[in-house]
Amino acid sequence: MKQTIYLMAIREALDEEMERDEKVFIIGENVQQGTFGTTSTLVQKFGPERVMDTPLAETAVAGAAVGAAMAGFRPVADMMFADFMYIAGDEIMIKAAKWHFLHGGKVSVPLVLMAAMGGGMKIGAEHSMCPESIIMHTAGLKLAIPSTPYDAKGLLKTAIRDNNPVVFFYHKGLLGVPGEIPEEEYLVPFGQADVKREGSDVTVVATSRMVHLSLAVAEELKDKVSVEVIDPRTLEPLDIDTIIASVKKTGRVVVADEDNRRCGVTSEIGMQIMEKGFDYLDAPVQRVAAADLPIASGFMEEHILPQPKDIVAAIEAVAT
């Protein structure tokens, strides 16, 4: 194993996959420099033909990736901020998501749409969103949201090799998070949740940055309540079986995610727990999510985004 950080793990995944398969290329705004460092230095190794800087044109970035994918390449479109993916709604949610289905399986769209999501940087409503629910809602898109360097590298490599469109949301608040990854090659399969901490009293299903907040809260509460933290790692496919198995053990569950509360990821996971694990529940499912408001900028951000105290409150609500 070796020590790295989240953003370097992402870069390593891109580097290795570009080395492995010449059909892989990166396209996006300023990817040669890399806004978040995830694509930096790759142009020096692979050249501008494979690390393609585009003008400010999100629709063209996503659309070109769809076209190139259908023509047999494996593009990684870097959409920079996840918020910007709304601009390319047609290309992402209609073309990439549906065209395999619409063409009776005769056309495949093997691409990765990579973007930085989430708050914490206090940069306001159009640079801090976690639009996971809209992607999870769209049939035909897979969705990976890693919380650790290990998962980031392994999931991104799997995403690039997948023959379907995969949205890869990395959290900009986790870019410097350290962690260990193997020296040798590895992949993290889709649809396999990871139990980040074992516990017996309460299950917290947490995604992305919420995993870290939940782990910290679990540690803080360890003398009072034993918290199990499950990271689904991919929301489509969603490993509901691992979640239900944990609920069966604890009987109490909190779902924590940074997307908006209303119709958000927590709604979907909470409802699936109701459908598949109702008999195991000893308390109503609690949700921790962003308020149903645009994300305020500056210091007001913390009043919108879910905070550790919200996770504590939710755990206490189900545990008592």
Partner: protein, 324 residues
């Protein structure tokens, strides 16, 4: 390239077949056999046939536009019309021989207008990476020319010198919106200058004019000289979609306008030219008409005999969501 006698006859025959196949679907809708939408392309046959028949190679990419549901493009690319007819009648085509649309570089017609511009950029990027001189021909209507995707795509194609031929089939209406009220200039071809590429206007009723202009654009792209824009001025005879009104804004389209365009029907114009130069005789024309009629009858019968999708196995849809 000057077309041979056989090639001229092929162009004419394809235009006739395109028109009759379009008519087949219109009739099938009237008799309740066809299902879903149909956007007839009657009157616009010269653009798809002139633009695609002798201009593209087998491994070039093509984005048709939606009028006539791309039947002219399919015929021009050597695809069997069996699937086209079967699908419109809600049937599952059986034993279709010949290349598939994907094998002829056709990856689907965008249901959301203007979607093909940016996808064409992706195709052209791969063409450049492949280095085999492939070209992407992107056909679109005047309505699509109002989409912002056109700006992003044309600009990027020009900056990156991509092998794309943009071909506008300007039929003067976008659903009920007249072109003159939707576009700030008289010619869409004018915008080419903004993207530092050649832009030409051709008579979209003249199949040979379309052929020549598109061929020049394709040759330029193939030579590595980048994109260009060809605008074909044409007209649609029917309303936006079958069963809907044939109007401009909220009033019927002016009869005199429709009649004036019908006097310059692309098939009639080409037929007269071919008769005059002796390429075709009246007997030849009768023969082509008869053969087309026979083909249409056989296709109707074929589609009637094709099975409907099996509702007892809807899981086929689940299996189609993702590729392996």
């Amino acid at each position: 390239m000057k077309l041979t006698k056989d090639q001229l006859i092929k162009l004419y025959t394809l235009m006739v077949r395109t028109r009759e196949l379009d008519g087949l679907i219109i009739n099938a809708l009237k008799t309740g056999k066809a299902i879903g939408f149909f956007h007839s392309g009657l009157g616009e046959e010269a653009v798809s046939i002139g633009g695609c028949t002798f201009t593209l190679k087998d491994d070039d990419y093509l984005y048709p536009h939606h009028r006539g549901h791309a039947i002219g493009f399919f015929l021009a690319r050597g695809l069997s019309p069996k699937s086209f007819v079967a699908y419109h009648l809600g049937k599952v085509p059986q034993d279709v021989e010949g290349p598939t649309p994907v094998e002829r570089g056709i990856f689907g017609v965008s249901g959301t207008i203007g979607g093909s511009f940016v996808l064409s950029v992706g195709m052209a990027i791969t063409a450049k990476k492949n280095g085999k001189g492939q070209v992407t021909a992107c056909f679109f209507g005047d309505g699509a020319a109002n989409r912002g995707t056109l700006h992003e795509a044309m600009n990027l194609a020009s900056v990156w010198n991509l092998p794309i031929a943009w071909i506008c089939e300007n039929n003067l209406y976008a659903q009920f919106m007249p072109f003159k009220d939707a576009f700030a200039r008289e010619d869409i071809a004018d915008i080419a200058a903004s993207y530092n590429m050649p832009g030409v206007v051709v008579d979209g009723q003249d199949v040979l004019a379309v052929h020549e202009a598109v061929q020049a654009a394709v040759a330029r792209a193939r030579a590595g000289d980048g994109p260009s824009l060809v605008e074909c001025k044409t007209y649609r005879y029917r309303g936006h979609s079958e069963g809907g009104p044939d109007i401009a804004h909220y009033e019927p389209r002016p009869t005199e306008e429709v009649e004036a365009w019908k006097k310059r029907d692309p098939i009639v114009l080409f037929r007269e030219a071919l008769l005059k130069q002796g390429t075709l005789t009246k007997a030849d024309i009768k023969k082509i008409d008869k053969e087309t009629e026979t083909e249409i009858e056989a296709l109707e019968q074929y589609a009637d005999e094709c099975p409907r999708p099996q509702p007892e196995d809807p899981s086929v849809l689940d299996r189609l969501l993702y590729a392996e």
